[in-house]
Each structure stands twice: as C-alpha cells, then as structure tokens.
Symmetry: C2
Subunit: 298 residues, 2 copies
Amino acid sequence: MSKLVECVPNFSEGRRPEVIEAIAEEIRKIPHVKLLDVKSDPSHNRVVMTFVGEPQSVKLAAFNSCKKAAELIDMEKHHGEHPRIGATDVIPFIPVKNISMEECVQLADELAQDIAAKLDIPVYLYEEAAKIPARKALPHIRKGQFEGLKCEIDKPERCPDYGPARMHPTAGATVVGARQFLIAYNINLDTSDVQIAKKIANCIREAKGGYKYVRAMGVSVRMGDRDVAQVTINMVDYQGTPLFRVFETVKSEAARYGVNVIGSEIVGLTPMQALLDVAEFYLRLDGFDRKMVLEDNL
Amino acid sequence: MSKLVECVPNFSEGRRPEVIEAIAEEIRKIPHVKLLDVKSDPSHNRVVMTFVGEPQSVKLAAFNSCKKAAELIDMEKHHGEHPRIGATDVIPFIPVKNISMEECVQLADELAQDIAAKLDIPVYLYEEAAKIPARKALPHIRKGQFEGLKCEIDKPERCPDYGPARMHPTAGATVVGARQFLIAYNINLDTSDVQIAKKIANCIREAKGGYKYVRAMGVSVRMGDRDVAQVTINMVDYQGTPLFRVFETVKSEAARYGVNVIGSEIVGLTPMQALLDVAEFYLRLDGFDRKMVLEDNL
C-alpha cells in the first residue's frame, strides 16, 4: 500500500497572480504529486496550496516551491492582514494514508534541514515536529512577525531550530512541522440567537473545558432569507475528538435551550476515516475494519 | 475516472480443489481484473468467486472462467445441496464505481450472447437484465434444477433468452444478469429470545410489508457464553433502502419489547457509499459530496 501525505504550505503572496502561478507550477511539475487546491486572499496577501502524494515527492515539491517563493517574494515589501514571518510562512505535513505521524515528523525534520542548508533560511519546527515544547504553538514562533523576529532572532530563546540566527534578507524565516488533518465543520441551529451558538461553542472548545481537539466559535450566518446561529468548529484531530461526539454534544446542549440542530456541513475536505467513524458509532458496528470496504480492497 | 464493475459467478464445484483452482486462474490471468475472494462449500458442491475490474476485462474473465467450467464440470455427475442448473450456474454483474446499472445490464447481455454463441450453452437473463419479467427472480429460472430443466427447456415458457433450446450435454444452462451490491448485515439484540428477533425481522422485510429491498430473518447466535437473538439481513439495494433506516427501525421495534440493540455487523464487503450515507444521515450533513472526501480527489 502506497504512503500518502498531504502538505499545505502558506506563502506570503495573495495579489500577484504570476507569482502564485510560478510557485504552483513548482508543485505541479513533480511526478506523483497532485495539487488539489490553490486559495489566495488579497487582503491577507497570502496563498494556501494543498497537495498530496508519495512522501519523498511531496517533500521535493515543498522544497522547490519554497525556493521559488524565496526568489519571487521580498518580505521587506510585504504587507497583509495575516501574521507572517517569511515568504514561505509555514509548511505543515499531514498523514493521510498508510503513514504515521512519526513519519511526517521525520519528513518535516528533513525538509527543515534542506531549507536551512540549501536556501540559507532560518527554520523553526512546530506542532508535532517541535523540538522545543513552546514551539508547538505557531503563534509563539510568529510573535512580532517578520519585522519583530528580525530584531530578536539572535536571542537564544528565538534562535531557529536549523539554519542561521539571522533572517534571510528577502525570504525571512520559515516554519515547518507536522500536524493532524484539520476538518472545518459547522453545525447550524434552528435559531437566529447567536448567543446560544456562542454558549454551545464554549461547551465544546478546549479553552473553556470542552474537548481537547476542538476550536469553536458561535457566529451568525445568512442562509437564504434568514439569520442562522452557527457553531463553527475546527476539528484539529478527528481521531482524538471524533465528529460524532461533538455533534451529539452540540445537539444535547442545544436541546437545553429548546433549540434543534438543523444541519451540519463540512467545509473543504475530510479524510474518509472521519466519516467511517461516524457510521461505525451510530450503527454500533462490531468488528468493523477498513478491509470490509470494497474500494479499500482494490 | 475509471469504471469499476464487480462480478460474482457461482460454479457447480465445491469439492475438487484442482478444478476450482483452474477456474480461478482464468480470472487471475486477465489484466485489470482483481480476484478478491474464492469461497467454496463442499456440501453445496459449489464455489463463489468475487472479482472486480474494468468492465470489458471483467466480461472477458467471466467468459473464460465459464468456458473452463464447461470443460471441467459434468452436470450429469453433479450432486450438491444448493439448487443449480449449470456448471457455471449464475453470473451477476454489480456496479461499483462510475458505472450505471444500465451499463451492467448491457454487459450482461453481451456476455450472455457470447456464452450462447461461442460455447453453445443456453443462457437466461435475470434480475435487472431480465427481458421476461418473471425471470427477474432466479428461483423461477432454476425451477426443477438441471434435471428438471433438461426435460422442459424446449417448452416455450422455458426457452432460453439466448442459445439452443436444449441443455449443453455437460455444462447445462447458465443464468447471467445484473443486480445491486448485496450487503449482508446483522443486528444483535440484548435478549436471548429469538421470537423477538423474528418479529422484528417481519417488520422490516418486504414480504411482510417492510422495506422493499430488505430480506430478513430472526435467528439465535452464540456469542461467547450466551445466546443472542439476531436480526440477519440481506440489504439487496442499499441505495433504495439505506442501512441507517433499517437500523433505526430495528432499534425502535426492539424498544417496543424493552430490548436494546447491542451492536450490528457487516459480513463480508460493503461499498464505501453505504457507510457515507450513514454518516450523512446522522450528522444531518448539508451539501455533502463525495468530492469532499480527500481520498476521492486522488
């Protein structure tokens, strides 16, 4: 069974289509890699590219795109709403199929060393790949952004994991790491009262005593001709905190206010396993195995 | 996207391993075909082979295995508990991916003509491929079995859809058709009272006013050190009658007797879609699409 890893680098360019295209082309031209999505935001002045493939090919595509971004983006001239420290701001690897988190951490470490050695860019390791516990959190590494880090990078506590203790003159610094697949998941309520959505979000989010791998907010969204209160969720580890458990808790908390769940939605992509876990839970399946899925035998 | 069809021929040989192997080899040696399972039963004196692949390759593998069975099996000498009319008793095609039922019916029709013309075997079309409505049901075609059909095949009402109106001297006759994927699904109850399982089975099976695509029985199974009442189900069209609906009805009918559902199990294989439909139902997913599943983008 071939190994499949996802990579979702964020580059500090959301306005010049020719630069975005040149970076994307570096990914597209690597065999055994598939570029799934390119999403740019002009106000953030940032682009997110999603690609998958065999681990070493994905690593090569990540390196080449990072090299191209260093050539075409000058952080001294970059402005945008989103926090950033480099031309290639952050590169996470995500296990998809037949690959462990440990292997993704290893892949991140190899890429970090390559970027430092061959491109002379300081590199920090984050999330599961972090060598320094405080660096698990991306905001910690990105504190002060490009401009702030430039002044502090030679301090011991801000020294990069690999590469020089000074910013690359145009490309700045880069963060590389490994994390679980993030599922963007919204649950819509049969009320326009956003306060109820906010209260429910607080029941499920880690920061307020909820589930460890849940980030959530209550918001109001326009659906057709009415306002709907929505619990908008980032499931940062669908194996650690499964979708069905969050859904059931939201349903139960909503009932406390006499409110029904009218539906839920997955935004973007989800790994198959996250949905199979839902089916397994509700059908109370005994002895279920992916080998029972016809398509997984092919 | 490549088309994927499943084929599950039943051959009248469950005792001589060298004959079973020779037939299986005819399937294995066709490129773009994967033999997933070979299940023989000596008391039935019958073997069921499951393979998948690209439609024309699957048709060729079905034809070649049928030809080999005609060479190696003599129906005049065949005895077994399972009803049968030929060396290759029945060949169903099942749509798996990117292929419609209509295309499977067409494939069945082509194979039936090939078998009749090239092997001189009378062929009947059944299920979705039936040209005569009464022949939708396999038992209707198989009435009287090999021995009985031999005496009646020249009667107008028993005349084959393709090929001679007389049995092949050794291979008998063959049934070819197209049907939906059949999911074997069991639901276990928190009681040893098999009468409750029988009553619930009657609530869900078509024959007793239940769901159109459900065949069900109540049985008693041994689990560890206790007897468990089980509703054992054949879901003959999981798109027409979905798993979750049957599960919820069984749960609700069991509650009427104060009994809980302790679990359910899928026996053998299921198409991925059947489980995704379960997740979609319970999470009340809006706007869900297979394109949202990461693996389906690859």
